[in-house]
Amino acid sequence: MKKCPVSQLDALFASVAARQKLYIPAGEAKTAAFQPWQEGMKLTDALNTVRSAKDLFFPQVENLVNFKVTGKQIEIIENRDPSEPFVVFGVRACDCRSFDILDKVFLCDPVDTYYKTRRENGVIMTLACTEPEETCFCTAFGIDPTDPAGDVSCWMDGENLYLRANTEKGETLLSELPMLSDGDAPAADKTVFDRLPLKNLPLDKFGGEHMMELFKYEKWAGLAESCLGCGACTFVCPTCQCYDIREFNTGDEIKRFRCWDSCMYSDFTLMSAGQPRPTQLERFRQRFMHKLVYYPSTHDGEFGCVGCGRCLQKCPISMNIVKVAKTLGEETT
């Protein structure tokens, strides 16, 4: 394990940024975001960013291809947004786990080459948590916030930043940084995580076994009734991966792009025959069934939620996966 004094953090960032683009979580607590590092930029005080690290690998909007029509000819023009090697620092354990979930969707056959390129280009430097928010529940999904995964894991105390490379990519990165010396991080204090109010989320009932029972559960109506049908939860979620492919006619050519979609929207998976989920009740149910039942049923029981708590903080009416899991998990048999 390596270490670097916190006072030399700027020099460390500068050294990383000199080789490839570096993103760090910066900005005011309310609007913290992963931003390209610049001289003088400070890490945010917020525990986590508003939007997750997913954005850097699966951006909200990205170009796919262009078409140009001349007479009866269609010309297909490659229009991929360029991707270059980059490092993202300060990813929390929860966001880091989300890449396992996204990888299983985007990197299985047929491979999503847009996502794959960014995954290959990106080096993830995680940062261990010491002061969780009351909304954190990553431990319910077996994530250890004090020992995050990623290409490089980092721990920070008042004096030092400790770094441990976990992958080849991580080794290469650390070997290029001259200011690192050897040193071991002190053992993490885990007691605060035992006091988290949401750590005992009842998850036993979820997974594929009780699928139809949960699907037909009568309490969905009560849970969904105040849902406004906005996409705030889906867009701040690190594991939501639905997108729509759309086309924009510039008058001169067609630009095909993809953008995030939300199962909360009335035109999600709209078909010529109409909307398969006609009311907000079905759309609401889809989101939570996907995270808690459908995804684990096809991925060896792994849940599609990492407990980052963003949806708890951002839902306009404070309805969220914790309330759903508690209502369903405690009462069904």
Binding site: F248, T250, G251, D252, E253, K255
Partner: protein
């Protein structure tokens, strides 16, 4: 693309069918000159102008947008232009609030008999927008390639 060419702004003029479009016609029959980069779009009444039309004109490459309608009191539908007047006032004020150059948008009342006023208005508006330069703040880069 040609280089070193003088900047010629694209102007979209929304003209009401009953007064201003006829006014534009009159300026044509009178052989009055106004720049060819003014594109006229005929609308049934000035109050048909949805604010979205203005923004989308900018998106599609307009550098200035002007609305021409009957003089207040002379609307073919009696009151349409009074509503348009309020809407455009508020919309222009909002665009100004967002920091978009306020000279890029304008409303001018042109009657069917005012061919000369139509040409003069267009000449003057084109000149104003030429001085402002290209529309950058309300552009959609996708439409510019």
């Amino acid at each position: 693309m040609q280089v070193n060419q003088e900047f010629k702004p694209t102007i979209v003029a929304f003209c009401c069918n009953w007064c201003s479009y006829a006014g534009a016609d009159l300026s044509g029959t009178n052989r009055l000159q106004y720049p060819a980069n003014v594109k006229i779009i005929r609308i049934p009444c000035s109050c048909r102008l949805n604010p979205m039309f203005i923004l989308r004109a900018f998106q599609r490459g307009a550098d200035g947008v002007i609305l021409c309608g009957c003089h207040p009191g002379d609307c073919h539908y009696t009151t349409g232009n009074y509503y348009a007047r309020r809407r455009m006032t508020l919309l222009f004020s909002m665009l100004d609030f967002l920091g978009i150059e306020r000279e890029r948008t304008r409303v001018e009342w042109v009657s069917a008999a005012e061919g000369a006023k139509f040409a003069a208005t267009m000449n003057e508006f084109v000149e104003t927008v030429t001085k402002l330069g290209e529309n950058k703040r309300l552009e959609d880069l996708r439409c510019k390639s």
